[in-house]
């Protein structure tokens, strides 16, 4: 059974059909890449899954149950986490606080615990601090040591992307949605991100949906690639098959006008 399944999902903004009768499924432990030109509806698919948008028709099923109509934080609670294309960190909080804040749903200290600092509160706090440090340690030496107590705005661009992934990991998801994790990175860093995504699947057994324009990332780790254009699925399969699909080539490059003119 697929972990996440979109069944005939449609989303319109006014007259614009952004996602058009789209069906797709992702098996547990799989890395699926969504590719397509700008405006193809890739990010909208993520927004539909996470509950930011509600589909006009169709159903989205996670772990066998429909998640349409759930609020965003409830979607996160049942195990779907995401990162944002345009980086949405809590800039004025420290690196560690950014990650710790994402444990909100799994902590239970109430007002009394917090104000009186009961042992329960201290235990829980120490626990999530440890957990957050472990999540940050996942990125090697990029986000450890003195960086823990620095405000997020002082991080470099690449480190901000890493911090977003760490924050998403803190919600303990089963399904991770990565929206262009390699955007704005240099080739070395891109290689590192590719490796990291592989590690997320292999070591943490995460299922991943990846949106990415950098084909070296997509080709490097995808088990399956789905190409979208105008909200419709135009190709699906291995990276090599999709990349050479004439429809995909046409969506990216346009068809040859010279032949039509004759």
């Amino acid at each position: 059974m697929p972990l996440i399944e979109l069944q005939d999902v449609t989303k319109r903004f006014g007259g614009l059909q952004v996602v058009n009768h789209l069906s797709l499924g992702v098996e547990p432990g799989e890395i699926v890449s969504l590719i397509g030109p700008n405006g193809a509806g890739k990010t909208t698919v993520l927004n539909l899954i996470t509950g930011l948008y509600r589909p006009d028709s169709g159903d989205i099923r996670f772990d066998g149950r429909s998640i349409v109509g759930l609020s965003m934080h409830d979607v996160t609670r049942i195990g779907i986490a995401r990162t944002f294309q345009s980086l949405r960190l809590f800039l004025n909080m420290t690196v560690l606080e950014n990650v710790m804040s994402a444990a909100f749903l799994r902590t239970h200290a109430n007002w009394f615990d917090i104000i009186v600092r009961t042992p329960r509160f201290r235990r829980e706090e120490a626990q999530i601090r440890q957990l957050a440090e472990a999540k940050l340690a996942f990125f090697g030496e990029r986000l450890v040591g003195y960086r823990h107590d620095q405000p997020a705005y002082s991080l470099s661009y690449a480190n901000r992307r890493r911090l977003e992934i760490a924050r998403a990991m803190m919600t303990e998801p089963k399904l991770l949605l990565l929206d262009e994790p390699a955007a704005g990175m240099n080739p070395n860093e891109t290689g590192e991100v590719t490796e990291l995504i592989g590690k997320l699947r292999d070591e943490l057994k995460l299922t991943i949906i990846l949106i990415e324009h950098d084909m070296s990332v997509v080709g490097g780790i995808s088990d399956r690639v789905i190409a979208l254009d105008h909200g419709e699925k135009i190709a699906e399969g291995t990276f090599d098959a999709v990349a050479t699909d004439p429809l995909v080539v046409e969506a990216y490059l346009g068809h040859d006008e010279r032949h039509n003119r004759k």
């Binding site: 996470t50 930011l52 609020s71 965003m72 934080h73 996160t76 609670r77 986490a81 995401r82 944002f84 949405r88 960190l89 809590f90 800039l91 004025n92 909080m93 606080e97 710790m100 804040s101 994402a102 444990a103 909100f104 749903l105 902590t107 200290a109 007002w111 917090i114 104000i115 600092r117 509160f121 706090e125 999530i128 990029r142 003195y146 960086r147 620095q150 405000p151 705005y153 002082s154 991080l155 470099s156 690449a158 480190n159 924050r167 998403a168 803190m170 919600t171 240099n186 070395n188 860093e189």
Partner: protein, 483 residues
């Protein structure tokens, strides 16, 4: 290998050092706070503050100190809503008022209920918190400026209702009922009574306010360093991201509102007990502005900042009532500002000497023309003021002195604006000499004569200067919007 260097940003590594160099006050506070835990600092603070009534028997001073503590606690509550959760709440004072009126209803002859103080205070806190929930609910859909307008409306409505609900027809009652006491308020409230001890003197209430402040600081510090505080900060930083990371943002917003309201209500109740009465005019927009000035001055979100802000905003106006103290504060403030603004540092002493010489020359020239009728100002019996007065010249006729002060004030504004536009160090230095002379002239001939106006002017200038040199407040952390 070069690959190891990627992402190791040297700018970031040196970051803390640069912050510390820029803001020495914050550095000192930061170091101090790390040496001892927060509760230890609070105990030290409380012990030091508790000795005040032993040092002075002047009720006015103790009253001011009590006010500093009360408004400090109130500002802490506002800080939760505005500084932590980032919700611009302009109706905050209404909750303070609700607390005060709730105390009045529960402990006076107005309705005839006299509950024990402990129960009253708990009830007040709960009632105000519920009102906070109530206002929080419609505010869920509102963002930023719109939220500010709605809450401002709430605050104004509250004050208006308390003023005008004096003849309300209630079904079943033969005649209209006076619900709020109107502009004349509710009088003769019970004092605070705890375990058989009754607060009667200013000193008693000072200690109550001190306990309130210390408890509030501890509670809010704990809240801030918890899952709740982190979630509120996240909400302030990016609501959508907070929601996506599993934080129920709607509930958190309402919680922040209710927390702030409950704190305000408790403060209001204690205020009412201290004053022994409540009036609608106690909860006007002036108080709101003062509260915002406190938290902005101290630095949004900073706990010790609130304390300093409250000290400045509450105590300074009262200190300025005394001409001698006001003069000291004025001249000291001017010199400190010069030291802060002028670089290199040796320019300031040089400038002060130049101004003194300039004044002597002006005096020499003007006194050489007897037909003008100008003379040094009369001595007032304060050593430093007498020196300045004999150095300065003004029209001998008191009415003319005031007029000259007004004209000087206008000239001072123009010159002052001019100084800020001049980039050349030496040109600015030269223009500053007559400007400063004029400043002293205007202060001595006009401003120090009218304490009530000067107080406001003084605070205004203080805030402007402070915001120029410390845009994030005295102890505020730098905050970025978009990078």
């Amino acid at each position: 290998m070069s690959q190891d260097k990627i992402g190791t940003d040297q700018w970031v590594e040196q970051y803390q050092g640069r912050v510390n160099r820029r803001n020495r006050v914050a550095l000192l506070v930061d170091r101090a706070s790390k040496r001892l835990p927060v509760w230890a600092w609070l105990i030290i603070l409380a012990l030091v503050a508790a000795t005040l009534p032993l040092l002075t028997s002047n009720d006015l001073v103790i009253r001011i100190a009590g006010n500093v503590a009360l408004l400090g606690a109130l500002a802490l509550g506002l800080n939760v809503v505005v500084g932590y959760a980032g919700l611009l709440d302009l109706g905050f004072v209404a909750f303070y008022g609700i607390g005060a009126y709730a105390y009045a209803y529960l402990s006076s002859n107005f309705i005839g209920i006299h509950l024990p103080t402990g129960i009253t205070l708990i009830a007040i806190t709960v009632i105000s918190g519920l009102f906070g929930l109530l206002l929080g609910l419609p505010s869920l859909r509102l963002l930023g400026d719109y939220l500010a307008i709605v809450t401002l409306g709430f605050g104004l409505i509250f004050q208006q209702l308390m003023t005008s609900m004096t003849r309300v027809s209630i079904p079943g009652q033969p005649s209209p009922v006076n619900l709020t006491g109107g502009p004349n308020g509710i009088l003769n409230l019970d004092p605070i009574r705890i375990f058989g001890w009754t607060a009667s003197s200013v000193t008693d209430y000072y200690y109550i306010m001190l306990v309130l402040l210390v408890v509030m600081m501890l509670v809010i510090y704990h809240l801030y360093k918890s899952r709740l505080g982190r979630a509120w900060s996240a909400l302030r930083e990016d609501e959508l991201a907070a929601e996506a990371m599993g934080m129920p943002t709607r509930r958190l917003k309402v919680q922040a509102f209710a927390t702030g309201a409950a704190i305000a209500g408790l403060c209001g109740g204690l205020f009412a007990a201290w004053q022994g009465s409540v009036f609608p005019s106690n909860f006007d927009t002036n108080l709101l502005i003062n509260l915002y000035a406190i938290i902005v001055l101290g630095g949004l979100g900073s706990l010790p900042g609130v304390l300093i802000g409250s000290l400045v905003i509450v105590a300074v106006p009262d200190v300025l009532r005394n001409a001698d103290l006001a003069g000291k504060l004025f001249y000291l403030g001017a010199i400190v500002t010069l030291f802060g603004a002028l670089k290199p540092r040796w320019q300031t002493p040089l400038l002060l000497i130049a101004v003194a010489v300039f004044g002597l020359i002006v005096k020499f020239i003007i006194l050489a023309i007897p037909s003008l009728g100008w003379a040094p100002l009369p001595p007032v019996g304060s050593a430093y003021l007498d020196v300045i007065h004999s150095w300065l010249v003004a029209p001998a006729n008191p009415v003319l002195t005031g007029n000259a002060g007004n004209i000087g004030f206008a000239a001072l504004l123009i010159l002052g604006l001019g100084v800020t536009r001049i980039k050349n160090t030496w040109a600015r230095f030269v223009v500053l000499i007559p400007t400063l002379y004029l400043l002293v002239f205007v202060w001595e001939t006009r401003l120090s004569q009218e304490a009530s106006v000067t107080r406001l002017l003084f605070i205004g200038v203080l805030l402007i200067v402070l915001m120029i040199y410390r845009p994030n407040g005295l102890l505020g952390q730098k905050r970025v919007e978009i990078v």
